[in-house]
Amino acid sequence: MGTIAKIHDMLTSKECSCTELTQGYLDAIEKANGELNAYVKVTGEEALATAAAVDKKIAAGEDIGLLEGVPMTLKDNMSTKGIETTCCSKILTGYKPIFDATVWETLKGQNAVLLGKTNMDEFAMGSSCENSCFGGAANPVNTDHVAGGSSGGVASAVGGNIAPYGLGSDTGGSIRQPASFCGVVGLKPTYGAVSRYGLIAYASSLDQIGPITKSVEDASIVFDAIAHSDKRDSTCVGNSGVTTYDKLNNDIKGMKIGIAHEYLDGVRDDVKEAILSAAEVYKSLGAEIVYFDLPILKFALPVYYIIACAEASSNLGRYDGIRYGYKAAHYTGTHDMICRTRSEGFGEEVKRRILLGTYVLSAGYYDAYYKKAQNLRGTIVSAFNKAFEQCDVIMAPTVPMTAFEKGRAVSDPIETYLTDICTVPVNIAGLPGVSVPCGFNQKGMPIGMQLIGKSFDEATILNAAHQYQKAAPEKFTNTKWGVQL
């Protein structure tokens, strides 16, 4: 049974009240967060108010929904009305949105209990969470290691049992990579499946919101709850009424699982072994493993960085010190005020990406970089479509390595970019991908496998992932931290 169903049972059987449960999580955060640094803001008052409302409903004998009264967290780039939302950037310090992101409006409407906002790389730019203005989140499996990024805080909180589940955002792997590093499940839905209204933009043609959870079942429950169309997001088509939860237990006998040779190139041996052993588990469940080539993948990373930085340079143009956030204290004129505000407010990696994005969009370089990258993006989409003629699901490592030690990512930007090599193709092609724990390296750090599906076919990858979790539960870990249900 997943964590959400377990909590639902505890509440409906009156094993504990929602207030007791919520207080338990708040106490656990108080105890663990000094070391994990998963939360950048705890919303205890709001959480207990919601919990009291749920308790009142239960006491009155009313039925409660599956997510009702279940504590959770949001990455700090999702707008929460009246609650500070910073993107872990100095430039948004003190910013309190006047509206809720649609995903939060939806969950709030179901009485989800918001414990707080979680840590991330500044504006979701990074792979270690160390680009946060609050300092990075630690890996709950071994706190000398990073939680991953950019949604490192959510993964750390869920892995550290100080949140039953959370929502992250994934532009180039920011849900799946930290999930892999922390030994939890992370789903990046299809582009267009979940509304991004109220998600502070990084790269709009790539960003997507999705759940980070302890189990595949939980990811499915949360995805089904948030995947619906939204009048306020013209890129959102929703899930068209398709649910994933009722398909989790479908028989996967005969399912074709594809492995592209290129996904295993340059991957650490322990990661490769874990992936191939997961393929054996699938064979024992009656699935068929097919190998194929996807040579275009080697261009995915530069294509990603060109497109993402180009879009970021445009999206982040809005931070000018006039309407919200930080404003420089001393300046000589309007141009000077804006430049000082941005230079003082943005961190180093954000500035680097704005500069790179401006470079690839500027006259003389647009055709060579941005236009070429967009053309290649089309080629990558076609290559995936062709690959899916041969298989139902593509299996790959989530990250070519396990979580690195703190401080290592900051030194070399290119080396850090390489950690995204297995995750970015999914964003480029707009496909759904889920990271599922599939083993440990010699030091006990978790390894994640990624299952990639056809557009809007979250049901199949979650079905395959759930069957794997049932067959290989020993690959899923628990940590000493937090609330042990």
């Binding site: 267009g192 043609s205 530069p302 309007t334 401006t358 080629t379 092609a429």
Partner: protein, 92 residues
């Protein structure tokens, strides 16, 4: 080849100040990233173009008039305001 002048020009377009002492380091770091991005020029001449992902297109809806935010709400996050407006900057 990324030059110091390129970086200065790009910084100006990006409305960012780069302190003189950081200019050389940033030029080199930009050059490394551009070298890395240059890999795409070895890619097969894909000409599929990219208009949208998987034939998705904008979801349109009827334009409905709904209540919007009050002036007061909109100004809540302004670092400085004056006479119900955003204050861009004080006069020197």
């Amino acid at each position: 080849m990324v030059t110091r002048e390129d970086v200065e020009n790009i910084a100006l377009l990006s409305k960012l100040f780069v302190p003189e002492e950081e200019l050389d380091g940033l030029t080199q770091s930009m050059q490394e990233i551009i070298d890395f991005a240059d890999a795409i020029n070895n890619a097969p001449a894909g000409n599929e173009g990219f208009d949208n992902i998987n034939n998705l297109s904008n979801v349109f809806r009827e334009d409905e008039v709904v209540p919007s935010y009050s002036n007061e709400d909109i100004l809540k996050n302004a670092p400085e305001q004056a006479e119900d407006h955003f204050l861009v900057r004080n006069k020197e």
